[in-house]
Amino acid sequence: MARDKIYLEEEFPSPLLQLWHNFKETPVVMLGFSCFVFLTILALFSPLITPYTSVENHLDFLLLPPAWHNDGNVSFLLGTDNLGRDMLSRLMHGTSLTFGLSFVVVLISLVIGVIIGSFSALTSGIKSSFLNHFLDVILSIPSLLLAIVIVAILGTGLSNTLWAIIMVLIPQFVHITRNAVTEEFRKDYVLASRLDGASSLRILYHSVFPNILEKLISQATLAQSSAILDIAALGFLGLGAQIPMAEWGAMLKNGIDLFYIAPWTVYLPGLAILFAVVATNLVGEGMRHALKVSKEA
């Protein structure tokens, strides 16, 4: 028999759980979060749930409009492109490419950026100054331009694009980590930890990181929406994912020539990109709002 809560128990959540409670309050943000989760599930499981594979050609059904048109066919729900490939399957595969890879890119650059940033914050003097200013120079160049330059050096292809975008996103995280860690080091509890005999590494891990996690997460969501746009833009320019891959930007590039005869080949990938970016931005906004509210309370 379950024990009912007779007495009004007060719950005292940890600061991270408190953040999650604040996050849950805004309905719009929860909508964005559920879209985000939906996209993540699609990205992970798309090979299993797509009706057709992304490269299967159906030569009898070239340029079929979406199912709600008069000429459409319900077995190709969102129509086909000029090579007879099903748009729905391609879009779903594209989720794992554009959205999923952006997630991976942000994760890798977060880890590298945090390591460099903490190292820079721990040292002082010429070494840290050099690191910081060098990376600030990289920050001043627009991310897309820098990615194009790096791809031009390394060559085209999806993996090179990913490396380019990782390199472009690292300076942001270094900057944020360095500022946050320097600020935390000024606080008294870090001094108290040091006086207890903790090494710098232990202080970083136990005392500082839990407190800067929130800033890192909000910066990561900002970086992710920028990464989605960069991957799509590079695909559109032909520098990223190559032709048979179902990346959304490459699909856009394909469809641009056929815009007047088959507009769905353009607006469907475009809408997908919009959807992903809006969901990521909503989650990021919600996180920042929750941070602000929890600081005020």
């Binding site: 940890s14 509890y189 108290a192 930890s193 040091r194 006086l195 839990p210 407190n211």
Partner: protein, 260 residues
């Protein structure tokens, strides 16, 4: 009573100036010597910029002294060796809001110095944390709470618990009582007095509130701009100050105390 802490010729100066040629030297603290016995409280009084926080940081080991040394029970404390020092000299900070890590529970907070400095098993540590919390007047259940749930007075008590958990011999109170409300201040002073009796601690109290200093301390040292103006027994100095600066300090506070 044997001398617990012996400070000789301790001083701290900073090098200012950006260019390599013209380095000005700023003396935060001139060479100073004093000693403190067990069960005794030394009060350090002075306005901001007088060097009292520098002295506190030197004693606890947060900064390296330019000259001089500190001896505890006859053993010299090596600067930079925190593990040796933290078992004997602990500090309570002023601003209780930032002295406690907001994402750790109190239990984890108190566990950390034990993990780093003792070899106790987990159960033994748990027991010691419970006892320490009870000594400072908090409940053992408070171990699972986060710092933001406590009031200012309780946070200072947690800082005190963190200071006494390693059973030190000297505790430095860096303006620890200044931010408390008057009724909580009296409670905290009673608690500190009890602990001094029980554990034989020596306190070094840094404050600018002469009322507390008069009640709580045995000896007093008046600092101004890094130099010692006067040093001696509290009752002697506060009733018959010799130096101009001390007289001015007392005038400013007594003026509000006696004028009715």
């Amino acid at each position: 009573m044997p001398t617990l802490l012996q400070v000789s010729n301790l001083s701290k100066s900073f090098k200012l100036g950006r260019n390599w040629f013209n380095r000005k030297i700023f003396t935060a603290l001139d060479p100073i010597s004093f000693d403190v016995k067990a069960h005794q409280t030394l009060a350090i009084v002075g306005e901001t910029g007088s060097g009292k926080s520098t002295l506190a940081k030197l004693l606890v080991g947060a900064e390296l002294p330019t000259t001089g040394n500190i001896k505890l029970n006859g053993q010299t404390l090596q600067p930079g060796n925190f593990k040796q020092r933290c078992q004997h000299v602990r500090m309570i900070f002023q601003d209780s809001g930032t002295t406690l890590n907001p994402s750790l529970t109190i239990g984890q907070l108190l566990n950390e110095p034990l993990l780093l400095n003792t070899d106790l098993t987990e159960d033994a540590r748990h027991l010691l944390i419970r006892e320490t919390l009870q000594k400072v007047g908090l409940l053992a259940d408070h171990m699972n709470f986060y710092p933001h749930m406590f009031s200012g007075g309780q946070k200072q008590r947690i800082s005190l618990a963190r200071a006494i958990i390693l059973q030190p011999q000297v505790i430095i109170l860096d303006e620890a009582l200044a931010s408390l409300d008057p009724s909580l201040r009296s409670q905290m002073i009673n608690l500190l007095l009890d602990l001094q009796q029980q554990m034989g601690l020596a306190y070094i109290l840094i404050s600018h509130n002469l009322g507390i200093v008069r009640h709580f301390s045995d000896k007093i040292m008046v600092l101004s701009q890094g130099q010692v103006m006067e040093m001696g027994e509290t009752s002697d100095i506060l009733s018959a100050p010799k130096h101009q600066y001390t007289k001015k300090l007392i005038m400013n506070q007594r003026f509000q105390l006696l004028h009715r």
